[in-house]
Symmetry: C2
Subunit: 143 residues, 2 copies
């Protein structure tokens, strides 16, 4: 976990870790779509190339946003899971979804919304729900 941050600005530091074209989409896949394996991430509609995916997963692991492990009954699949640090990105993702819903829908009528009804009224509740659901998933997998 090298930290060659561009500056001491908290925004710049965050972008130095997750401010690329793919990292937040991997977090989305994990948090919202409950994806866990290299194959799962490869199958996402954006079509990330394997080399890029490989390097991003390594990077996110180095930065403690995700963990990588094999389950005892399956030595083939690697299971990637968000750490608490990664789960805490949920509010950022929530705000991105809301911004997109409000400001980009006109440009992309086909856009699907991850946001259920009630998302806007009760933003932090929905975010917490996503986080707690994910924590439960981790619990189920790792015991």
């Amino acid at each position: 976990m090298k930290n060659n941050f561009r500056s001491n600005c908290p925004i710049a530091c965050t972008l130095d870790i997750i401010g690329d074209k793919w990292s937040l989409l991997i977090v989305r896949d994990m948090l919202v779509q409950r994806k866990k394996t290299f194959k799962d991430f490869s199958a996402s509609p954006e079509g990330i190339a394997p080399g890029i995916l490989s390097s991003r997963l390594k990077w996110l692991e180095e930065n403690d946003l995700i963990s990588k492990q094999k389950l005892p009954d399956n030595q083939k699949e690697n299971i990637y899971l968000l750490t608490e640090k990664g789960i805490e990105l949920a509010p950022v993702i929530t705000e991105i979804i809301l911004w997109s819903d409000k400001n980009l829908r006109a440009q992309n009528a086909e856009m699907f919304s991850i946001a259920e009804a009630g998302f806007k009224q009760d933003k932090s509740k929905v975010t917490e729900g996503i986080q707690n659901n994910y924590r439960q998933l981790v619990q189920e997998i790792l015991g």
Copy 2:
């Protein structure tokens, strides 16, 4: 404003517009540091190269996140201002700052916080304050 979005996911669409190394830092400069000119942005500690800055400003303008204009009494400086669409990125920036404060401070003791006291207790109030202050700035400049 071409929209070659990678997918119909609202997160992916947003990242296709602001998901690069620099765009959100320009928005930060405008919203939080009240920077307005090419020179202002160039002076930020992260050291963006002029060619990149130029292309990002064009891109953000094409996507209606910022506007560019000259003031009647100064034909030399270009004044860049956030549009409403740009101002509405404030909640995303707020959440990034909070995440950084909580999860990155250990890695960067020198990190300064844009967040004043009370930020955590009253997140949305602080965000709204930043937005309204900026709207006032725009009003003062454009009348």
